[in-house]
Symmetry: D2
Subunit: 347 residues, 4 copies
């Protein structure tokens, strides 16, 4: 019997990517697509690539109906909006994966400090699992509520995890410099995502104050066994999909490239979606476009005593919808790669 899935916020880019992936997922039935902006419209009128593939219409949000009809609900909403959905869905004994920020933090105070609003369901935070499958696979399997990681944190945490897990770097020296395609900013209109302003342009934004910072610090710090403060700078790149993160840290002791590589190999041995690159190959966003992979390569720089880790993901797949489906697969006992095993597009 297929898992009945509902999506709230189905017409944003992350929501539409969920629709695309789930529409050819062999174990899922797309049960409800909810959209604030396009209620009543055929979904394929909003996303023409799905014409003849997705026949459903968008509906207005009806939380009780969702909780009743669906086995799992995905929320792809601005922060704050997933809380009432989660309450009802979990109350009805169903599961929820939130692609927003509402269930990513263990400490509501951190959420409140960075998002400038109180958290309305701190009791739900306690049962929520941070949905980075490569880190928390076992907890996710038994979770009912998963906070799907942000796109930037996915790339940065997967890049650094093996080193922190083994306590090999100086936690005070981490600099994460990330570059994102524009789809990460969503489908909402703004001058900053207007074609002529972005094309042939490259810029940083939210230097030192981006809301994905505390999420990284929480997860990296948990692995390191200490609180961490990192420098994180996001940048906007004139392309649609992809995040490349370049992460810098001082090694605690001299290590060779081979020694570092074997740490990564051990850590990711059983994780299909992380592809450690062969020697001499660096990740690039095009190699993961449309797929759920995270490509990773650490580089040791003996001149400076630093390791520089490069990681690449498709921000809408491993950085959002693909990872959410990966979590769903785990939560329902399906093979982790179901519906996610096709390679991406190149060029």
């Amino acid at each position: 019997m297929k898992v009945k899935a509902g999506i709230v916020g189905a017409t944003g880019y992350a929501g539409a990517e969920l629709v695309r992936i789930l529409s050819s997922h062999p174990g899922v039935e797309l049960t409800a697509l909810s959209s604030q902006s396009y209620g009543g419209k055929a979904f394929c009128e909003v996303y023409p690539h799905l014409y003849k593939h997705v026949l459903q219409h968008c509906r207005e949000l009806d939380i009780p109906a969702l909780a009743r009809e669906c086995d799992i609900v995905f929320t792809a909403l601005p922060h704050g909006y997933a809380v009432p959905v989660a309450r009802e869905v979990l109350g009805g004994g169903k599961k929820l994966v939130d692609l927003g920020a509402d269930f990513r933090f263990k400490d509501p105070a951190v959420y409140e400090q960075w998002y400038k609003v109180g958290h309305e369901a701190p009791e739900l935070l306690e049962q929520a699992v941070y949905g980075l499958s490569e880190i928390n696979r076992e907890e996710i399997k038994t979770a009912s509520l998963v906070g799907n990681p942000g796109c930037y944190p996915t790339s940065v945490i997967l890049g650094l995890a093996p080193l922190l897990h083994k306590r090999l770097i100086d936690t005070g020296t981490v600099v994460a410099d990330s570059k994102s395609g524009v789809s990460g900013a969503g489908r909402g209109l703004s001058l900053g995502t207007h074609f002529s302003e972005v094309n042939e342009n490259f810029r940083a934004y939210n230097v030192g104050v981006h809301r994905h910072t505390p999420e990284m610090e929480q997860e990296l710090g948990a692995m390191a066994g200490t609180s961490m403060a990192i420098s994180f700078t996001p940048h906007l790149t004139p392309m649609n999909r992809g995040i490349l993160s370049t992460v810098y840290a001082k090694l605690n002791r001299d290590m060779t490239m081979e020694q570092v590589m074997s740490v990564y190999e051990e850590f990711y041995r059983s994780h299909y979606f992380v592809r450690l690159q062969p020697p001499g190959v660096l990740p690039q966003t095009k190699a993961v476009t449309g797929s759920n992979h995270c490509d990773v390569a650490p580089v040791v720089d003996p001149r400076t005593g630093r390791v520089v880790v490069i990681s690449a993901i498709d921000n809408l797949v491993k950085g959002a919808a693909g990872q959410a489906v990966q979590n769903m697969n785990l939560m329902f006992g399906l093979p982790e790669t179901t519906g996610l095993d096709r390679p991406g597009l190149y060029p």
Copy 2:
């Protein structure tokens, strides 16, 4: 039992797209990948998106081995090079789909006039079928040798076919203005495909003399029941994938939008991959990126008495590798959509 497929010219863009599609085709076993430039290399070293998806190595071309080991061979080669492969493969009782120009023409003189070389196997031309499935589905089913259509002709012919079939346009007035992404020019290096020269640039090329012209004229003329000479202008667009063709012709008599539309609906009723657009919607290349669809919309312009047909394809899928697999499916009695039924990527 799976169909054993070999690809000659596997490391060009069309070849690599064949590898991508066939690597997740449930009825196919990728048996041999041949490459002149990368013989001996792991395929995924040449195309990083297929890392961990395709494990084969490229081999040097060994035509007898191919004919022996494969049920079907795809050739994605410069014109002229497919002939010896076809001879041997067909001689061994196997099948071949050529993605180049060697088997597209009924009349070797036309080939010779436009390609400036003699055709070395006119006897094979006689048994070759032009592999535009929506036009020649039945012939393809029984063919051993298929000339896969060019990317531009695919978009133009599918755009005009219903009107010509019904003799509704003046065949002397056809203008086909096509715009292609750069992957259509292949992976070979040239100043004309150097990033800084193409990006932020738009240009026409081969005005009036592009080699896809006679291919269109042959097929359009066959449908019209008369010889045709059309104006065709290809353009290079700063994007990777996609062809949009805008085709103009005088209607033979006044027709309403509804009348024209019903001609198209009837013609394409049983053809899954052609998506006639809903009223008011125009095709765009992004809606077909990564999929085997051809999106089509005719527009009647009563002011000028012309019909303007817009059609969009992914040049590497419906314009090359996807169509080749569609042909293979037909040739082996598989459902036409096998391995091609997933929607494309957006945005």
Copy 3:
């Protein structure tokens, strides 16, 4: 003494391009920049490339002040809005160049038919000159009111003018297929100009019904000495600047490439900004980016009896602001190329 220039609608892309060009025009003093959206803001806060180059602040529109302080006013506004400005400016004995559609038509009925509103100053239409300098140079020199051509018409008319002037083509066979960069759609936000929707996409729009059509027909028809109806299709190209038009027409009689070329050479002999391409070279938008040139090349296709003319402009320069300055130069007796003589950027 410098010409005092005011710009109404200075913070749109065409307005800002006027500011850029005029800020280094040796014969002009930028006197007033008016903006509905940014009144009170420093201009360089709105356009960071002009930081330290343009010190003015935007002001709210004050028409009487403009008419008093300026020798010439440029209006870059949605249609309809230039009329009251023109009335006052002309009433005060000053000059005006409108970059919108308000003063391009000789016949107010045509304006009303295509723009779906009445024209509020038909009496001004009578004295307005269509500001395509290569066609109407002498009239522009003595004009007080100039309707600056649309971007598409500039490219199409300059492409066809020599042939029509000599009555060499069949006026019923003209097809103009134009491709524009996205800046032509302005700085206003819309889903159709959202980065992720445009990038890696190519599409047609307003097929057969674009408002630049009657403008072309008026000017082409005037040259041909007959009324004309043409097919015009605009397309959106994933780049910032540039229009390439591909224009098709049947020749009235057999002509060689050399004969056609000599017609163009004679026609454009005294026109600096039109660059007829050397034999074998086709225009491309990158060759005119940032310059006021229109690059033109006719191609004779003896197979079809058609001539195919390719023309390229920067839509914001020759297609808008540069042409407006060229008109201003003529209106004030300055050399036509003043402030416009620098080459563009490449790559």
Copy 4:
């Protein structure tokens, strides 16, 4: 009397940008354009934007003739090739600006270590001045031989100089993460600059081993009064022009944004081409496209005790040809901004 200028390597992107700038420089006469690849061809056949602007033909390299005819020679060549030109030009009492790496290093051993070849004119290194005008203006004024800075070092050094000059940062903590447009890789063909490989892609390259690293370390170290080793990672961005550098360093003591800003203001007070951004504004490459500006903004991050400096240049202008002309202006006693004072293009 005009300065007679020659360019060796005129048909690369940096060379062509020199031609563009010098062709409208009021104090310069373009005397000789030398090109290995295009000797004998009209320059505008190689670069169509300069059609009718530059009438010269390319010539084969003739060093004695250059030394005789020119007052200054610009070399834009692969490393090693400028040495013989410099010998002859300086021997003839003329001046030379090298846009390559041959005259950037004070210590030939550093050059040899990173470029893997011996330096053939260590005696010339002694008299060469590193041509970053904002740092070495006075030395440049009297120099005959200038090593024009690399594009990345220009952006990084101008970003950090004020802080190092005042000894405000921990020199062991510097991380420079730079993102470049593709024109920085030149016009030479390679798979890495093939359109379809770069477009919709973002990648790092030469991590920890890029040859611009020692150049930065030399200049930054000189300012800091100590030897320095920095982490530098270059990235390739899918756009034509522009470099954005994001530079991280630990502050030696707590400083406010205002305190840091006043350090920058004092340092750059007399330097027209560095534009410190207004509060809240971050540099972006589009704001400097086509201009010689370097836009800079430091951001203090009190959470981590780091300063993050963002700087943006056009790699072909301030990062190459524009800076070379700025140096020439200084060397010949012309106003520093001559020929460089026009704003760039936007959007």
